[in-house]
Symmetry: C2
Subunit: 341 residues, 2 copies
Amino acid sequence: MAEISELGEFGLIDRLTAGLNNVNTASEVAVGDDAAVLSYPDTKVLVTTDMLLENVHFDLTYVPLKHLGYKAAVVNFSDIYAMNGTPRQITVGLGVSKRFTVEHIEELYAGMRLACQIYGVDIVGGDTCASHQGLVISITCIGDAPADSVVRRSGAKDTDLICVSGDLGAAYMGLQLLEREKVASAGRKDFVPDFAGKEYLVERQLKPEARRDIVRELAAVGVKPTSMIDVSDGLSSELIHICKDSNVGCRVYEDRIPIDYQTAVMAEELNMNLVTAALNGGEDYELLFTVPLTDRDKVEKIEGVKIIGYITKPELGRVLVTRDGEGEIPLSAQGWNPLKG
Amino acid sequence: MAEISELGEFGLIDRLTAGLNNVNTASEVAVGDDAAVLSYPDTKVLVTTDMLLENVHFDLTYVPLKHLGYKAAVVNFSDIYAMNGTPRQITVGLGVSKRFTVEHIEELYAGMRLACQIYGVDIVGGDTCASHQGLVISITCIGDAPADSVVRRSGAKDTDLICVSGDLGAAYMGLQLLEREKVASAGRKDFVPDFAGKEYLVERQLKPEARRDIVRELAAVGVKPTSMIDVSDGLSSELIHICKDSNVGCRVYEDRIPIDYQTAVMAEELNMNLVTAALNGGEDYELLFTVPLTDRDKVEKIEGVKIIGYITKPELGRVLVTRDGEGEIPLSAQGWNPLKG
């Protein structure tokens, strides 16, 4: 194992970025100058940034570094897809403490490079520095979209259908499972965690994917959503974002919310409310979007997309209709509290 | 004082970004969506990122939060100017621990907003999250430059003149002074630090400026540098970057290195080697650049620019000629060791 101090900052960067080849023509000059040089003459430029801090966003006792790198990149791609765009470049800021070796950081980078390879994204720059604390990862993603394709959160209209991809709550249940096994393993060297039958939950937590496929399918069937957002803080919070920014209300149906079988079993096992997990769990990285009523047939044909309700006038509020069809619960943004953790 | 937890992430962001008005036409959609939407049809897009960690890059016992915010923004602008570009937007990633109140973060933001106002830059997005550790700041700056204006590190040619703006070593001496007063103040409540006659050093450390003026002057006199870099890690390290990337050597003269009087006095007082401080001190945020020999008259007219040497063939090495004109010392990149701190 090599000490990072032996290489120094520039040596480490050279090693981490060796063999990087840009795949996007927009990436003209990448790693190795004061700034990357990009070219976007014909499209809008999209920029998003996410910070991940050890023991706030991830726990290295059960998160492998390669998975962490993969996830750190993918959650940024997800934000670009949520604008109906294509991620093209990332810059990577890393704060690294002494307990990490060069090999550790290479593992982390291997995950980021794999994600970039799969999604066609270039690593074009970054900053690596010492941390006295834990591991700090800050990724900025740059993407693009033709001017008439950009989808914001503010375009939802009364009577639009509300759609969501995939299923919700699984990543959150995966986190509960990993935490449970962590507690069970404390002080036991021979401990083997038991994920049998729950592999999907663990994968959703540790190695999420961004829904590039859905963005492509929408384009293929000729549907441009009126609004779109990725589900990172929970369905409820994201619905409220769309309603606020679009100045509309919404009505979603509990029995339409897509939930995987493993998520339901795990909620039962942990005696947790399943709908709460699906509404507020977060880290799903699915796409939530609205389309005009006239596009119903087209979106219904897309595998993995479900219509969960519709947009209303703002005065009708933001409402969840319960399973029995009788109760109505106002949606609340449990959201994310920066000092809860 | 308000607890951040009372506001939550979205409340805090709303408060911090209230009243932000974009000044650049390229900033089409800013704070408040999955990604910012920018437009750069006619220019190259420049992207740079910097991470600042508490107790690695700054010490809040003597760095006021407003100054910290200002500096965090300005050091990113400096990277864009070093490409001969203009900074246009930043995204701000913040990790905040419980000991910070809303007012603290507003102070930090006030500094960033002031820097943005002065340099004509828009805050277009970011991420705010909890930190169990200290304060974490990660800023990404996006800028632009006409395609034929971008200056990289790799264009220096044999016989080019090596120029540097301002003076060097003052920020480093400012840091030494602040550290000395911190030690002297330990345990003394009534302690008043003594900066008399050394205000310039403190200002260079706490509130550096980016050299927009030099970039503009160069354009005004019709000089496009063959290579350029900003001096953040020390003159010696930056000269080596230019020499490596341009495949050239260099000869710089000790007696030509610009050093302020206060820097010299402070070095004397602390019994430190003045030239070492100027060569390896770092955080000067001056511009180091090379120009063809034929541009000598033009650069000599620019106030605050000094010619310190010239570019040579690579086999002649990277050399500092000592003050007496007889000694020659090979430049070494003391550089920056990520685990030294």
